[in-house]
Every structure is written in structure tokens, then in C-alpha cells.
């Protein structure tokens, strides 16, 4: 039997999520759904699945998850499903993933005939997990009378508006990230930054966040992203895995921390100016802080990524720093694995955010902006998970907004 639904502030009714998927499957004439994307696995199973994994959702009843056998017992222990619904695959006769999946899918078809919903497409996010060409071909071979249709929109649609349990997980992850930022600020203050490397800062933040309950510095972009000096100003450089570079006086420091709490994701970047600070550096810093304040005020139901970017870039132009900005102010977010596209796959470029997506109450995203002045070796990043509310937005990380001089 699967675990009982125990209501607490982080609880999510996963059985209802499955029923909602099944209702959509019925509406789309899909007999059985094969989920393979990391976002789908997190959203349906409530467990982190780092190995190639799948979930098979029949037209009624419980789903069955499949993962690498070495991790199946752990997944079953953490998931809401029991051990009979979390199965392991291995390179053994009758136990390889194609055999197990095709048998499970066949059980959801009528004499092998019917429609199998799969997850296909592309992503700029490496661990997306779409069904591979090879997997698709082998499943077609195993189920020659079945028809395969791309059905990822079902999960995308249902996961768009966040429920209370999900939001509370993000709130908690935001608090944890703040603990990491407090630890960094304490460590680098009063000259503490001298001789400290980016990797060291990433590590001390990770330790503080783990102590506060974080499960993982979840980002595939290198965990906690730390940049110093010229690295903060790399053009468009919104990805800075920590290096062994040391902090130096007169330089900027960018601290982008990631925490995970029950698959809810914390993501917040805070910025510093180290040691001697010039007037010009303060000008850059003030531009950045003012832009973030303006952006956070602009997020509300009814706005869109393109509308918001237009508003922000007008401000940047007026203040004379438009050339330092990446003209995008968001990326998507959801439970672990749902990290890139905002909204549905309905934009002019397939599988990228639709710039005219209209935000609705209950959506979450990362408010993100990158200020980078390469010629002056200075830059700042803002990231914070936000919830679109009826009157604007709620920020998940409460660490005070500023560019701190230490």
C-alpha cells in the first residue's frame, strides 16, 4: 500500500496529482503514460531520481516507477509509493529497462493496442530527460501495435500553478539559502575574504545550508555559483561554477546559492564589493539594486516576460547601463528538474519560453537578472524564487537586497 497522505504544511496530495493526470489522459485518449523527464518524476513521485528513471501511469490506479536497481529501495523509501510500485532495472535477462517498461505499458493497453503518451522534445537544460531516440525505437519494436504520442503538455499544464505544499517547500528552501548567505557574509566580513577562494565560499555556504536542512546544492550549473573579479563581468555570463580564484580587494564578488528542501528549490544570488570601492563601482551597484527593486515591483498577474523586459530595458537605457544587461529577467522553476522554460511549450521557438506568456496567480519562477560590465571587470547577479500573487509577487529568499561593501 502507498503511504497515507499526512497533512502538514509541506504535504502534497500526490494521489490527486496522478488522478488529475489520468483525467487528462482520458480526455486525450491516452491509455498509458510514460514519463521520463526529471520534472515529471519529481512531480509525480516525490523523490529525487538521479539515475535514468521512468514513471508509468495507467488509466486508473497507482503509477509504477522504474529506476536503476541500486537506487530503487532508497527511492521507494522516500517516495509516497511503496516497494511494489518502485521497481529496479538492471542489465539482466528480463530486467532491463526496455523489457520492464514494455511489459508495464502493455498491461495498460488492450491486447497491445492503444495509445502510449511519451515525453519528447528538446531542452537547453541537460538533465531534462526526454525519451531518447533509442528508447523510443526499442519500445516501438516491443509494442508494434501501440501508437506513441507526445504528451508532456499534460504534466506541464498540471504543474504550472503551484499548490500550497509546493509553495511551502520553496519558502523553506528560501530560508535555508538565507542561512547560507548569512554564513558567507560573516566569513568574508572584516577582511575575512582575503585569500579565500571561490570554491571555499561555495563550500562554507553549502555547510551552513546543509546544517539548516538543505538536501543538495541542486543546480547542475556547478552547485553554488561563485564568481570574483572579472568573472562577475563576463558578458552575459549567468553561469559561474566556483573556481580556485581568490577574492581580492577592489573586486566584486557574486554569491549565487542553491538549496533543496523536499524537492523545493532555493535559489538566491547576493553581491559584494570587496575592500577598496570606487565611485564608479558604486554607480554600477546602485544601478543594479534599483533595477532589481523595479523588477520585483513589476511582477504581477497579467504581465509577460517580453512586457517586463521592455519595461526594464527602458529603465536601463534611461540610466545609461542598458549595454550591461542581459535582456531577460526570469527563468522557470518547479520541483527538482523543472528549471528552465516558463509556462507551456507554445512560443515561437519550440521548447523555449514563450515571451508572451501571461503570468497567472500561483505560478512560480526565478526572478533573474545579470548585470555584466566586461570592460570594467565588474558584474552582479540577482536570482530569487518568486510566487506570482494576486497583488504582485512574494519573494522566497528574504536576505536584504543590497550590494554589500565588506
Amino acid at each position: 500500500m502507498p503511504r497515507q497522505f499526512v497533512p502538514d504544511c509541506y504535504a502534497i496530495d500526490f494521489a490527486k496529482r496522478i488522478r488529475d493526470v489520468q483525467d487528462e489522459m482520458a480526455r486525450c485518449n491516452i491509455d498509458v503514460y510514460l514519463g521520463s523527464r526529471l520534472r515529471t518524476l519529481s512531480w509525480t513521485l516525490d523523490a529525487f531520481l538521479p539515475w535514468r528513471s521512468y514513471v508509468v501511469i495507467p488509466s486508473s490506479g497507482l503509477p509504477t516507477a522504474f529506476t536503476f536497481v541500486i537506487d530503487a529501495a532508497r527511492v521507494a523509501d522516500e517516495s509516497w509509493l511503496d516497494g511494489d510500485h518502485v521497481l529496479g532495472f538492471a542489465p539482466m535477462g528480463g530486467q532491463d529497462q526496455i523489457t520492464l517498461l514494455s511489459e508495464c505499458l502493455a498491461a495498460g493497453l488492450k491486447n497491445g493496442r492503444g495509445v502510449v503518451g511519451i515525453e519528447s522534445g528538446m531542452s537547453n537544460y541537460l538533465p531534462e530527460g526526454n525519451l531518447t531516440h533509442y528508447e523510443y525505437e526499442r519500445l516501438e519494436d516491443a509494442l508494434p501495435d501501440a501508437r506513441f504520442v507526445n504528451a508532456h503538455d499534460i504534466v506541464d499544464r498540471l504543474s504550472l500553478i503551484k499548490d500550497e505544499g509546493t509553495i511551502n517547500r520553496f519558502r523553506k528552501a528560501g530560508c535555508i539559502v538565507d542561512a547560507g548567505h548569512r554564513a558567507v557574509r560573516t566569513a568574508i566580513s572584516d577582511g575575512g575574504y582575503r585569500g579565500m577562494t571561490e570554491t571555499e565560499i561555495a563550500g562554507l555556504a553549502a555547510y551552513a545550508m546543509r546544517r539548516a536542512g538543505s538536501e543538495w546544492e541542486w543546480s547542475f550549473t556547478g552547485g553554488n555559483e561563485i564568481a570574483t573579479g572579472y568573472r562577475t563581468g563576463l558578458s552575459g555570463g549567468a553561469c559561474t561554477p566556483a573556481t580556485r580564484r581568490k577574492c581580492r580587494s577592489g573586486e566584486s564578488l557574486m554569491v549565487d546559492l542553491h538549496a533543496m528542501f523536499l524537492l523545493g528549490l532555493g535559489d538566491h544570488a547576493h553581491n559584494y564589493l570587496l575592500g577598496r570601492v570606487t565611485k564608479r563601482q558604486r554607480w554600477h551597484a546602485q544601478n543594479f539594486v534599483d533595477l532589481v527593486k523595479l523588477c520585483l515591483k513589476a511582477y504581477r498577474p497579467g504581465t509577460s516576460p517580453s512586457k517586463l523586459a521592455d519595461e526594464m530595458m527602458i529603465f536601463c537605457e534611461e540610466r545609461g547601463f542598458a549595454e550591461y544587461m542581459v535582456p531577460g529577467f526570469e527563468h522557470g522553476i518547479g520541483m527538482m528538474g523543472d528549471e528552465w522554460r516558463i509556462g507551456m511549450n507554445d512560443g515561437p521557438f519550440p521548447y523555449w519560453t514563450n515571451p508572451d506568456h501571461i503570468y497567472r496567480t500561483g505560478e512560480m519562477l526565478i526572478c533573474a537578472m545579470q548585470y555584466a560590465c566586461a570592460e570594467e571587470n565588474i558584474g552582479f547577479r540577482y536570482e530569487n524564487a518568486i510566487l506570482i500573487t494576486a497583488g504582485g509577487c512574494e519573494i522566497m529568499s528574504r536576505f536584504p537586497l543590497s550590494v554589500d561593501e565588506v
Binding site: V69, L87, F89, A90, G93, G94, Q95, T99
Partner: protein, 132 residues
């Protein structure tokens, strides 16, 4: 010593006798489960099954079946010759599975924890003088 013809009722009775006398409940981890090994392409062209029932670490039943085979928690199927080689201890059951010579149906996670027990069963089975 007389040899027992493989997959006959006499052979099955001798295997059961040895399993019951040589494997304690502790060695069998007080296992309660059922297993069916399906022998395809037997020398007479037939398919046969050997059904094992285990109760609290005691093998209570070991029978050779033909025709409609019973259901079991774990089903391992393969060629007669593959099983014969395992019974003669010429081939490990694990390597037969890993090489795709045998197919396992059942919960792999549970099967992993039973692998050592199956090895013990096979080891005892290989001691039975058998005519293949």
C-alpha cells in the same frame, strides 16, 4: 551411487530432501516466497517448470511441472541447457542472468536480497548425482 534423471519426480524429491536437511531456516533467512524456473527446449522438446515454495525458511514444495505452469513471485526462464550447466555448477546463475541467458520476472529489488539464498539452493542442488 545411482544417478537421478534430471527434472523427474525422483530428482525433485531428492533435491527437496537435501535442501530440507542442509539449509537451516536461518540460512534461508526465514524466507517466505515462491519461485518457478521454466526450462525451455528440454531434450524431448517440451517446456517444464520447477516450482519452489518456501515458508519461513523451509522449502516446503519442490515439484516438476508440465503444461500450464503455476504463478510464482519470481519466475526465471531459460533454455534447458543453461539450467543444466548451472545445476552442474559449470555456470553461475548470476552470470547467466547478467549475460541474458536467463530471464527474471519479478521485483528486482527483492530479488537482489534473495540472490545469496538462490546461490545456496543451487549449491545444494549441484550435489545431487544427476543424469542430464
Amino acid at each position: 551411487m545411482d544417478k537421478f534423471k534430471y527434472l523427474t519426480p525422483e530428482w525433485a524429491a531428492e533435491v527437496l530432501r537435501r535442501l530440507q536437511s542442509e539449509l537451516t531456516q536461518d540460512k534461508m533467512k526465514h524466507l517466505t516466497s515462491s519461485m518457478l524456473t521454466v526450462y525451455q527446449d528440454c531434450p524431448d522438446g517440451k517446456t517444464r517448470g520447477v516450482y519452489y515454495q518456501m515458508e519461513d525458511g523451509v522449502v516446503t514444495e519442490l515439484t516438476v511441472r508440465e503444461g500450464e505452469l503455476p504463478e510464482a513471485e519470481f519466475v526465471i526462464s531459460g533454455d534447458y541447457e543453461t539450467f543444466a550447466r548451472i545445476s552442474r555448477a559449470e555456470l553461475g546463475s548470476r552470470s547467466a542472468l547478467m549475460g541474458g541467458k536467463l530471464r527474471l520476472k519479478g521485483n528486482m529489488v527483492k530479488a537482489l536480497s534473495l540472490a545469496a539464498i538462490v546461490d545456496r539452493l543451487n549449491k545444494v542442488m549441484s550435489t545431487v548425482p544427476t543424469e542430464f
